[in-house]
């Protein structure tokens, strides 16, 4: 259980002079489900992009599966699955074409990729649209295609950026249980989301990022004991130093209904 899968050492990143990540240190072990949370603009997506090799002018070291990704080249990506945040997808391909293509990019055989994709989509009740273009899909269907595309090659580490967006309640339950089962098989899951009660339920470790720094790191129980709050949502509010939601909401409503703006 103690295999280190992912290790960030003093990870710093700045865009045009402004620091987005301020020295992040994080070790992740096999079988963990990390809930990576934080307010908008805290640097969550940037961290994911760095780990996937989309950004490489960072400082510090990133080791994935024991290899420094700045030195090991692109091959480490063979063992990673990724669901991006805003569903980037070639939507003028059919689900079959897209998934086969992605499978092949991960080095799978064409026929293997196609079959596996079909079997996975059957589980999501999507076999009837296997040969339809993704552009005709609803948001939830696209999201399922993206999730399937990240799993085809049986990855050891899975990065998910808001994977549940657009999914209905039943599908959310499937994904939650699926992630748990994958973790039990020794997969490591790195999960970033804003939906606190989902993170609370599925993660066995929660990492809170605020302004490019880790503010809290531990299991839900540990965080709860520390902050003496009942839900992850209120822990989140407390740790990000936000307690004015009521006032802000009232301000918003008064601005919306104000007549003097004409």
């Amino acid at each position: 259980m103690e295999d280190k899968v992912l290790s960030l050492k003093n990870l710093t990143m700045s865009y045009s002079g402004k620091n987005v990540l301020n020295g992040i240190n994080l070790d992740v072990y096999r079988g963990q489900i990390i809930g990576y949370i934080g307010p908008n603009g805290a640097g969550k997506s940037t961290t994911l992009k760095i780990m996937l090799g989309l950004i490489d002018n960072y400082e510090g070291t990133v080791e994935i599966l024991g290899k420094d990704i700045s030195k090991s080249g692109y091959t480490y990506k063979e063992r990673i699955g990724y669901v991006p945040e805003n569903a980037e997808i070639y939507d003028n391909l059919t689900a079959a074409e897209y998934l086969t293509f992605i499978g092949e990019l991960y080095g799978l055989d064409r026929e293997v990729a196609r079959k596996k994709a079909l079997h996975l989509l059957i589980e999501f009740d999507m076999e009837h649209v296997f040969h339809s273009r993704i552009s005709s899909f609803s948001k939830g269907m696209r999201q399922k295609v993206l999730i399937v595309s990240s799993l085809l090659h049986n990855p050891d580490v899975i990065f998910l950026d808001e994977p549940l967006s657009g999914l209905d309640a039943n599908s959310v339950m499937i994904i939650k249980d699926m992630l748990e089962a994958l973790a039990n098989k020794g997969k490591t899951i790195f999960y970033s989301s804003h939906i606190m009660d989902v993170v609370e339920k599925i993660s066995n470790r929660i990492v809170l990022l605020v302004d490019g720094e880790i503010k809290a790191d531990g299991s839900f129980e540990e965080l709860k004991a520390e902050s003496q709050k009942g839900s992850l949502e209120s822990i989140f509010n407390q740790l990000t130093g936000f307690d004015e939601h009521k006032e802000t909401a009232e301000h918003i409503v008064s601005i919306v209904t104000e007549d003097t703006y004409d």
Partner: protein
């Protein structure tokens, strides 16, 4: 499918790609997907136009076949081989180069699929190679369409040997164009950041486009007229003019001219394309890395002094709604990257063409004679861009945002287009006409002011006609920019519009011989513009 055939042609070169550390199978796979997607470009769901399937690009190739016919007269031009060959390669370079710059820059600089491809276990070199091959395939097809007829004519007129040299040269020329354009982008991607970078890309495009035009113009000037003969004398600066490099091998091999200058130029024709494509190969990984910069959001946006802009806005737009769309369109025109990539090279041409034709006239008359003449009509060449840009106004890289036009309570949808046309006219066309006007008034004195106003109004009429001819989309910026790679149909329309510009110029010329005719003409044009505008945006 044509796409698969194209890929089969590549297969024999598998081992060459391997030698250059490119994963051939992976590259082929990516290419295949991209070609499949190109074939599936369909108009958006929002637009009501009929569905068109198939690769629009391939369907539009015939227009290049038409351009190719331009080359044929040059095969019969005099007996100066060097002049003939450098003019032919000059024109080829101009046509292929401008299409490369305006149609394929967006493919090379594409960052949209980075999240899909660069997160997969593929070497970035392979991803870039796929991109380059994607462009190369189209460039090859364009070249093929462009030279097939001329090459056949050439084979019969000038013989087999000439033909072989021609084919080899054209291949080198393509490599040169592809590599030089990409290297220019690599350089600015390395040098600049953020918003500056995005502006620089457009400037470089304009410069490249202008460079093509000027380079081609210089060719004719390196020849001395001795009696009725054009004689070529080498001087060192000719080494800087690519069409001359490509003209030299003909002279060298066919005329057995072994002078030092010709040999040097011929060597450049071979060495430079090879060296530049190699330089490109070496800098490929850093290119992909620096492309990331295009995805970064820049925080600052400078507040400009908007007094003049606001004044124009109030003068031109009559309702609150129209003003809002005018502002929106102005921002889209000046900020939307994909739109700028396609449109700005044409703007550069619009600026440079009148000046070049004016300069040509200086060749056979003195400056005094020129300033007395009617050569100011050359300014009509800048009106040619109107058709091209109005056509492009329907497209945007961010076409998906257009749903807001359908969900908001807009009274008259036609007002969006009228406001957009006004924004185009003020933000893109007027600055060019203004700069040209300063130069022209300096040369021709203030007597041409009424003529300039006539040109302005003929520009408005042309804009309205272009809009009527091109408007597939009911609302501007709502069609995906990828589908704008000039299909055959629109090229015909653009050529028709160019002829129309010619007609306007001819009428203007005829009118200007009548005393006070110009004022009557101006009055008529103003009335016609107003009436047309009212009819179209009723």
């Amino acid at each position: 499918m044509i796409e698969n055939g194209l890929l089969k042609v590549l297969d024999p070169f598998r081992s060459i790609f391997r030698k250059f550390n490119i994963d051939y199978d992976m590259m082929r796979l990516i290419l295949q997907m991209k070609l499949t997607m190109d074939a599936r470009r369909v108009p958006t769901i929002l637009s009501q136009s009929k569905k068109k399937e198939g690769n629009q690009f391939i369907k539009g190739l015939w227009i290049y076949g038409l351009y190719g016919l331009i080359l044929i007269p040059f095969f019969f031009l005099g007996d100066n081989l060097m002049l003939q060959a450098s003019l032919i390669t000059g024109i080829a370079m101009f046509i292929l180069g401008t299409s490369m710059i305006s149609d394929f820059s967006s493919v090379i600089l594409d960052v949209r699929d980075k999240i899909i491809l660069n997160t997969k276990p593929i070497d970035s070199r392979t991803i870039n190679a796929a991109k380059v091959m994607h462009v190369s395939i189209y460039l090859t097809l364009i070249t093929g369409a462009f030279i097939t007829i001329p090459a056949i004519v050439l084979l019969f007129v000038n013989g087999f040997f000439y033909f072989v040299i021609f084919i080899i040269e054209i291949i080198l020329l393509d490599i040169f164009i592809l590599a030089i354009t990409s290297l220019a982008y690599i350089l600015i991607l390395r040098l600049f950041d953020g918003e500056k970078l995005k502006d620089m890309i457009n400037y470089v495009q304009i410069m490249l486009a202008i460079g093509m035009v000027i380079g081609y113009q210089i060719i004719i000037r390196v020849y001395d007229v001795v009696g009725f003969e054009l004689i070529y004398h080498f001087s060192w600066w000719h080494l800087l003019i690519p069409p001359l490099w490509f003209g030299a091998p003909f002279e060298l091999l066919l005329n057995q001219d072994y002078s030092l200058g010709i040999i040097l130029l011929s060597i450049l024709a071979i060495i430079v394309p090879i060296v530049s494509i190699f330089a490109y190969y070496v800098s490929m990984p850093s290119f992909e890395r620096n492309l990331q910069k295009l995805m970064e959001e820049s925080k600052k946006s400078k507040k400009r002094n908007k007094n003049l802009g606001q004044l124009l806005e109030r003068l031109l737009c009559f309702s609150k709604e129209e003003r809002a769309f005018y502002r929106f369109a102005s921002i889209m025109i000046s900020r939307e990257r994909d739109f700028k990539l396609k449109v700005y090279p044409s703007l550069g041409m619009g600026l440079i063409f009148p000046l070049i034709f004016l300069y040509n006239n200086l060749g056979y008359q003195s400056f005094e004679a020129l300033s007395e003449s009617k050569s100011y009509l050359t300014i009509y060449f800048c009106n040619i861009i109107i058709g091209v840009v109005v056509f492009m106004l329907q497209y945007s890289g961010k076409y998906k945002g257009a749903w807001v036009f359908y969900t908001t309570p807009i009274k008259k949808h036609s007002i969006i287009y009228s406001a957009t046309l006004k924004a185009f006219f003020v933000k893109l066309y007027l600055p060019i006409l203004f700069i040209l006007s300063i130069v022209y008034v300096w040369i021709f004195s203030f007597r041409i002011i009424p003529d300039l106003i006539v040109i302005l109004f003929s520009g408005i009429i042309l804009m309205l006609i272009s809009y009527k001819m091109f408007s597939v989309a009911k609302i501007p910026f709502t069609e995906p920019i990828e589908s704008a790679q000039q299909g055959g149909g629109s090229s015909v329309k653009i050529i028709l519009l160019m002829i129309l510009v010619g007609i306007f110029a001819t009428i203007h010329f005829a009118i200007s011989t009548i005393t006070f005719g110009i004022y009557v003409y101006l009055f008529i044009l103003v009335i016609v513009s107003i009436v047309l505008w009212k009819i179209i945006f009723r």
